[in-house]
């Protein structure tokens, strides 16, 4: 299954319990440069603060636009990276070296359109 390339959306999040290790965080520019060079990072960006967010809904044909969301949670998505990796272990390897793996947390979500699925 080596040849199977998987796409993962990597959500970069804050966390209320960051790493207490005092060692310096890894360098984000190095991380970006290295993963771009290896073709594992296709795209990515930091996001503006949640105070700039706008929520759009349609209910019964009516457009509802509102400010926010301003959830109580302090654990929010602050950026994303789009990865292409052989498998989850490679994606984990990419994620572990991101500075926010220690300062916050990383959520890895595979794309749903897979070359083959499990029979259920």
């Amino acid at each position: 299954m080596k040849e199977r390339e998987m796409k993962y959306m990597m959500f970069v999040c804050t966390d209320t319990e960051p790493d207490t290790d005092k060692a310096d965080l890894p360098d984000i520019d190095t991380w970006v440069a290295e993963n771009d060079a290896r073709g594992r990072r296709l795209d990515g960006h930091e996001l503006a603060a949640t105070t700039t967010a706008t929520t759009v809904r349609v209910r019964n044909g009516e457009l509802l636009v509102s400010d926010g969301p301003f959830t109580e949670t302090k654990e929010v998505i602050v950026g994303y990276d789009l990865l292409e990796c052989a498998d989850l272990d490679e994606a984990i390897e990419v994620a572990r070296t991101h500075p926010m793996a220690r300062a916050g947390r990383i959520e890895l979500r595979p794309f749903a359109d897979l070359p083959f699925r499990q029979r259920d």
Binding site: A86, D87, L88, A112, L114, F116, Q118, R119, D120
Partner: protein
């Protein structure tokens, strides 16, 4: 029959040559190993867990139908593999045009009569791959244990459901979800290499430990303990340079050696000091000691015991004591000091306190119990109050000890344990 050669097990071979063969038994003996091997190989080739399991199951069913009339083939494992592979080819032909998988399946050169049909390294690698995949940290711990039982041990879903106290349909859903996650999240079917191996191995060993505990617990299914030992033996053969694997095997052997002595005639659990030591399995203890000595000498970290090695050394002290009074408590206390240092937890601190209490007197023990309970994590833990009660009684304060045993009884959910604690309280009050 040894785990190293799952294809042509000695028992099956003997049965194949002999008269009056109990075919169901042969399928049982060959099947257990053959099932895991076939599943592992078919998963590698097709990437489809359910297909692999279905085909392995069908091969076993067909064997049960045919072997009584036609006789057991000379190479039962190869026969089963051939049937399962052909079945997988049929299914894939019908449902897909995935040529590459079909070609790979077809190229698994198998015969009914020849020696082991695929390279031994493949057999070994496939099973190891399967263990590491089932135990991937991206799966929930409970799902890892269930998947290991189902896929590697071939235990029926209904039996696993019973052990987990859920319905069969719930367990089926959980297993399906785990298998779907493996496929959809891209969990690789592979033994990790380099530093990742060292990171993942503790997770694999934790699953095996849990498996063993499920078999060893008061209400557990003993077959799970046997399976855990079988798997850790396999792992030890495949990765002999990992001292923690050997240590875990030794630990299992020491604990399992007491299986026939742990209960009285009424089925109540007996503590170590009340067990008839002549009923311990002394061959298993000897093997455990030999493994532990080897692991300590040859391991790359010979002077740095891991948590399983320390637990095994503690278990070895108990296993080699000729009586409860002859137990080397100072040695046990030292191992607990080390264990508490590398893997601190309230329960380990409590056990450490008990060991110190036996080694250096109840006052020393009580001081450590107080420290262990300081965080509050043991407040609702009956064994903590019982241990404090025991030390308090030995320090001479019978009234306070009785009160502690009553508190412990109130917290206990297990009727026999509750009974024993209240008995102890009554003895102290009288």
């Amino acid at each position: 029959m040894t785990d190293a050669n799952p294809v042509c097990g000695g028992a099956a071979q003997a049965a194949a040559d002999g008269e009056g063969v109990d075919v169901a038994q042969v399928v049982g003996v060959v099947g257990k190993d053959a099932f895991a091997r076939i599943v592992a190989t078919l998963i590698r080739v097709t990437g489809d867990w359910t297909l692999a399991e279905d085909c392995a199951q069908e091969a076993l069913t067909l064997a049960l139908e045919r072997w009584p009339a036609e006789g057991v083939p000379a190479n039962p494992g190869g026969w089963l593999m051939t049937v399962a592979r052909n079945r997988a080819i049929d299914v894939l032909r019908r449902v897909s045009t995935e040529r590459r998988k079909l070609q790979e399946l077809a190229s698994l050169t198998l015969t009914d009569t020849g020696p082991a049909p695929v390279r031994k390294e493949d057999v070994v690698d496939d099973r190891l791959r399967l263990i590491f995949t089932c135990c991937h940290p991206a799966l929930r711990l409970e799902a890892r244990v269930a998947l290991t039982l189902r896929t590697i041990c071939g235990i029926p879903t209904a039996d696993i459901a019973r052990a987990f106290l859920v319905s069969e349909s719930t367990m089926t859903r959980r297993l399906t979800r785990a298998k779907t996650k493996i496929a959809d999240a891209g969990i690789p079917y592979r033994v990790p290499t380099g530093p990742a191996l060292a990171e993942r191995l503790p997770g694999v060993l934790a699953v095996l430990y849990l498996l063993f505990t499920r078999g060893y617990d008061a209400g557990g299914e003993p077959a799970f303990a046997d399976e855990a030992i079988r798997l850790v033996r396999l792992l030890e053969q495949l990765m002999p340079d990992q001292p923690e694997i050997s240590a875990l095997l030794a630990l299992f052997l020491f604990q399992h050696s007491r299986r026939d002595a742990r209960r009285d005639a009424d089925g109540n659990l007996l503590t170590l000091d009340k067990q008839d030591r002549s009923r311990w399995d002394h061959a298993a203890i000897a093997e455990g000691l030999e493994i532990l000595a080897r692991a300590g000498k040859n391991g790359p970290h010979a002077r740095q015991d891991g948590p399983y090695a320390l637990q095994a050394r503690i278990a070895a002290c108990h296993a080699t004591a000729t009586s409860a009074d002859a137990t080397d408590w100072p040695a046990i206390a030292t191992w607990y000091d080390e264990l508490a240092r590398i893997q601190p937890s309230p329960v380990i601190e409590l056990n450490r306190a008990v060991a110190h209490g036996y080694a250096y007197g109840p006052k020393a023990g009580l001081a450590l119990v107080a420290a262990a309970r300081a965080g509050g994590a043991l407040d609702d833990y009956a064994p903590a109050l019982a241990a404090e009660g025991d030390l308090t009684a030995r320090a001479g304060d019978r009234d306070r000890a009785a009160a502690l045993f009553r508190q412990a009884a109130a917290l206990s959910h297990l009727e026999p344990e509750r009974h024993a604690l209240l008995d102890r309280a009554d003895q102290l009050s009288s």
